[in-house]
């Protein structure tokens, strides 16, 4: 019984149906935020130390995420928050009416960092809609390409984007008492990373000059080069298509690929132990850090890296092939695994627009999924994207992001979710490189210059900003081990002469076909839903991790992940006397722990038109071509 809020129950065969006697099963009450207003007004009357703090932009990419918070500096509390995606994301509108074969190439442009994952998710959706099963090598190569994207993305976040928040430069400025302590604090894992004190690590996290910062830049290059060996180009591969890939792979290609990626063996060990040391130290330095970005554990991930023996692209079998993925799909609610079935994840997804710049759609064409499970009128297969720009109003509409929920709960997405869910589910296929225990993920990382080690990520007692980043560091090693598993499988397939990488297909000229691509980005949860009618895309919906994390409040007043995590964040920053020199580092650490990537949630809308542009997607406004 995985649903606690939606009126859905299951028969003995596991088929879902709506509970009997519920007249309006998908109705909900909308609540205004008048209570919030009253609460803040009361505090304002008693306390002159309340300030509105805006972080705009939080990510520099297209400047598209702004975050508003109200802070009580005297009591070191965040009182109110609002996360805004400030530009319209319009791929759903762009793709309407197009040839399904265009979807992978167009949706890839949703992100300048992780375009390949969108291309692949799109390919999966089309495969499901049209019944195209890729050959084994096509599936395995797609997995290897995905790993490269993650190996680019996660170290980038850990050391280039979020790492500076934990560097000497920042810590010395915001919390000099912590920096003072770091100078004598011994690192626990010197044998792995070579640093004797925490301060040495923090110094090497300094932006531009720190060795760890510069090394991460170099590692992003290694991952990109490995990707290009298989995908031809990066970030927007032309080689990902429904039915597989169009790349030619030989044992030489795989050998070159291995030589590139083997540098990640030692790098991933060091990644883990560096962040283990930093976060363990910070908890000791100030236990309040445990509350920075704290949330109950509610997360959803679709899993990724298909097993070539099981994936058949059908919705009918998606629970079986989903649970054989190299990371397990699932939903975690309050720390407990609610389900690992892709159909449950799909059935529970809804998107709300009460606080977003969209009009409510009226159509409800799909009452059930292809297996007869009930789906909501707010489900992406039923959704129509109708942009409606307007003034910002905290009580009404303030974001271009919609509000995705699963079982009417907001949740979070991230690289850490695949670590967390895979650890809890204990359903990973057998591998020499990793295993799940039900409460941890065990990683067997081979020898390179450093000796082989077995590292174990354990489900943490609390879930906060630091644990998100720590799990992301373990995700680097998890990615690497999945890469090894699939690299060996690719070699075996080539040895057996199974060299086909794609399955040919035709677009049917008539009929209705629906599909969904369940996949993941470097930042977690990613799905594309498509409806193909008479040979063209009649509807296309994309749900990204940053939409999930940066969403505005639900119609019934529940915060999204960013909003709630910042609300829960104490102000640990010590080196400020008033609003003028307050940096807000704890809020920023919280936000960055989600790895915000706003190109995923924002694009450009032209007022007075229902059409959209992609010019800001992968380039600045200075593009000459």
């Amino acid at each position: 019984m995985c649903f606690q809020n939606l009126p859905i129950e299951f028969d003995e065969q596991g088929n879902a149906h709506l509970k009997e006697g519920v007249s309006n099963p998908y109705s909900y009450e909308t609540r205004t935020v008048e209570e919030r207003d009253r609460m803040l007004e009361e505090i304002a009357k008693k306390n002159g130390q309340i300030h509105d703090v805006d972080f705009d932009p939080v990510t520099r990419v297209a400047g598209a995420l702004a975050f508003h918070s109200t802070v009580d500096l005297e009591n070191r509390k965040v009182l109110d928050t609002a996360s805004m995606a400030t530009l319209f994301r319009g791929y759903e509108v762009i793709l309407r009416g197009r040839d399904p074969r265009d979807a992978a190439f167009i949706s890839s442009r949703a992100c300048g960092v992780c375009g390949g994952v969108h291309a692949t998710t799109s390919a999966l959706a089309i495969e499901m809609a049209l019944g195209i099963r890729p050959p084994p090598l096509g599936i395995v190569i797609r997995n290897l390409m995905l790993s490269c994207e993650y190996l680019y993305d996660n170290p980038l976040h850990l050391f280039i984007l979020a790492g500076p928040d934990f560097s000497e430069a920042l810590v010395r400025d915001t919390n000099p008492e912590v920096w003072h302590r770091a100078q004598t604090a011994k690192a626990k894992y010197t044998d792995i990373h070579g640093y004797v004190t925490i301060a040495e690590i923090m110094t090497d996290l300094n932006p531009l000059t720190g060795k760890l910062y510069l090394e991460a830049l170099e590692m992003t290059r290694v991952a990109r080069e490995a990707y290009v060996l298989l995908g031809g180009k990066y970030p927007h591969p032309e080689t990902v298509i429904p039915g597989g890939v169009t790349t030619t792979v030989t044992t030489t290609t795989l050998s070159e690929f291995y030589l590139k990626l083997k540098t990640f063996f030692d790098y991933s060990k060091r990644c883990i132990r560096i962040w283990d040391d930093v976060y363990d130290f910070l908890y000791e330095a100030n236990p309040e850090y445990r509350r920075v970005g704290e949330l109950p554990v509610n997360m959803v991930d679709f899993g990724q890296w298909d097993h070539e023996d099981h994936y058949d692209a059908t919705y009918q079998n998606c629970n079986a092939w989903g649970e054989r993925r190299w990371s397990t799909p699932g939903a975690v609610v309050n720390g407990k695994l609610a389900t690992t079935r892709l159909t449950d994840l799909n059935v529970g997804i809804e998107e709300f627009i009460e606080h977003s710049y969209y009009e409510q759609w009226r159509e409800y064409p799909f009452k059930t999924d292809p297996l007869g499970n009930p789906i909501s009128p707010h489900h992406p297969w039923n959704k129509t994207t109708i942009p409606k720009p307007g003034e910002q109003n905290w009580k009404q509409r303030y974001s271009w992001s919609c509000t995705p929920t699963w079982d009417r709960l907001t949740f979070e997405a991230g690289a850490y979710a695949r670590v967390y869910i895979s650890a809890l589910a204990k359903k990973l296929p057998p591998s020499n490189y990793f295993s799940s225990t039900g409460s941890s993920l065990v990683l067997n990382i081979p020898k390179d210059k450093l000796p082989a080690v077995q590292l174990e990520w354990k489900v943490p007692k609390m879930w906060n900003a630091f644990e998100r980043n720590r799990a992301r560091a373990y995700a680097v090693a998890f990615n690497m081990m999945v890469t090894m598993e699939n690299w060996v499988r690719a070699q075996d397939l080539l040895k057996r002469g199974e060299t086909q990488v794609a399955t040919p297909f035709k677009i049917p000229k008539d009929g209705q076909h629906i599909g969904v691509g369940f996949w993941g980005a470097g930042r977690g949860f990613l799905a594309h839903w498509c409806v193909i009618e008479n040979g063209v895309l009649a509807n296309y919906q994309i749900s990204t991790p940053s939409t999930v994390n940066a969403c505005p409040k639900t119609p019934w007043g529940k915060c999204g992940a960013y909003e709630q995590a910042v609300l829960n964040t104490p102000i640990v920053e010590s080196n400020f006397s008033d609003a003028d020199d307050f940096k807000g580092i704890d809020i920023l650490r919280t936000l960055r722990s989600f790895d915000p990537c706003m190109p995923c949630t924002t694009h450009v809308m032209v007022e007075g038109s229902d059409r959209v542009v992609t010019r800001e997607v992968t380039t600045c406004a200075c593009g000459i071509e």
Partner: protein, 234 residues
């Protein structure tokens, strides 16, 4: 085109920008083809390269290949608040920027943004530039969000965009712009010296700064007596 005066140098001409996705914006490919038709002197080694990648990727390419050029000419569209179709040609002089300012541009670079200013600053920080670097910047048409792709917007602008950047066969205005850029590139690539008023200096301090990475703005201090709703506005 007629041959231009010789000057023995290894010269890289880099076209900076990336918009392969938009079919109605063909200035870059047209310009590249036009530059390739220039009869560059035999004594020179002139390379024409698309630099439509993250500045970090370009830095790494330079570092990996140990590419050595005597002069680099970077060409891009840029918004310098000049009349549309203006072409400026400035010699990059570098200059010191605060670490945070460089980090802000790296932040953009690693997340997919291609931009001439970022390339100049990041290239400077990592020391990839030779002594002689020229930035040629063409001012595009006044652009709102959505220009260049929407037929209704293009129609609304009465062909202004098409006139400046060209759509379909290059318009006379687009021809003139490309002629202007090509002439500036030739002068910059082959001129014996970059001294003098023809090549005014461009420094890091002249560039438009990106918005702060994570600036904190205290929009308004809430006064106990103030009506609450007045302080809600961003």
């Amino acid at each position: 085109m007629t041959p231009v005066a010789a000057a023995p140098r290894d010269v890289l001409i880099g076209l900076v920008g990336y918009c392969q996705f938009v079919p109605s914006y063909p200035l870059g490919p047209e310009l590249k083809a036009r530059l390739r038709r220039v009869a560059w002197p035999q004594s020179d080694n002139v390379s024409i390269s698309e630099m439509n990648w993250s500045p970090i990727a370009i830095v790494q390419e330079f570092q990996a290949s140990a590419m050595g050029f005597d002069r680099i000419v970077l060409v891009a569209l840029a918004d310098r608040q000049l009349p549309p179709g203006s072409v400026t040609c400035r010699r990059w002089k570098g200059g010191q920027l605060a670490a945070q300012a460089v980090q802000e541009r790296i932040f953009e670079a690693v997340t997919g943004v291609v931009n001439l200013d970022n390339l100049l600053v990041i290239g400077e920080h990592f020391g990839i530039w030779p002594q002689e670097v020229v930035a040629i910047e063409a001012q595009g048409p006044e652009a709102g969000l959505g220009d260049f792709i929407l037929s209704e917007v293009a129609a609304g602008q009465q062909g202004a965009t098409a006139g400046v950047v060209g759509q379909g066969p290059p318009s006379p205005e687009a021809e003139r712009l490309m002629d202007g850029i090509a002439a500036a590139v030739c002068r910059a690539a082959l001129g014996k010296t970059l001294q003098g008023p023809e090549f005014p200096a461009l420094t890091a301090q002249d560039l438009k700064p990106p918005s702060d990475l994570c600036h904190t703005r205290f929009k308004q201090r809430r006064q106990p007596s103030a009506p609450f709703h007045d302080s809600q506005a961003m």
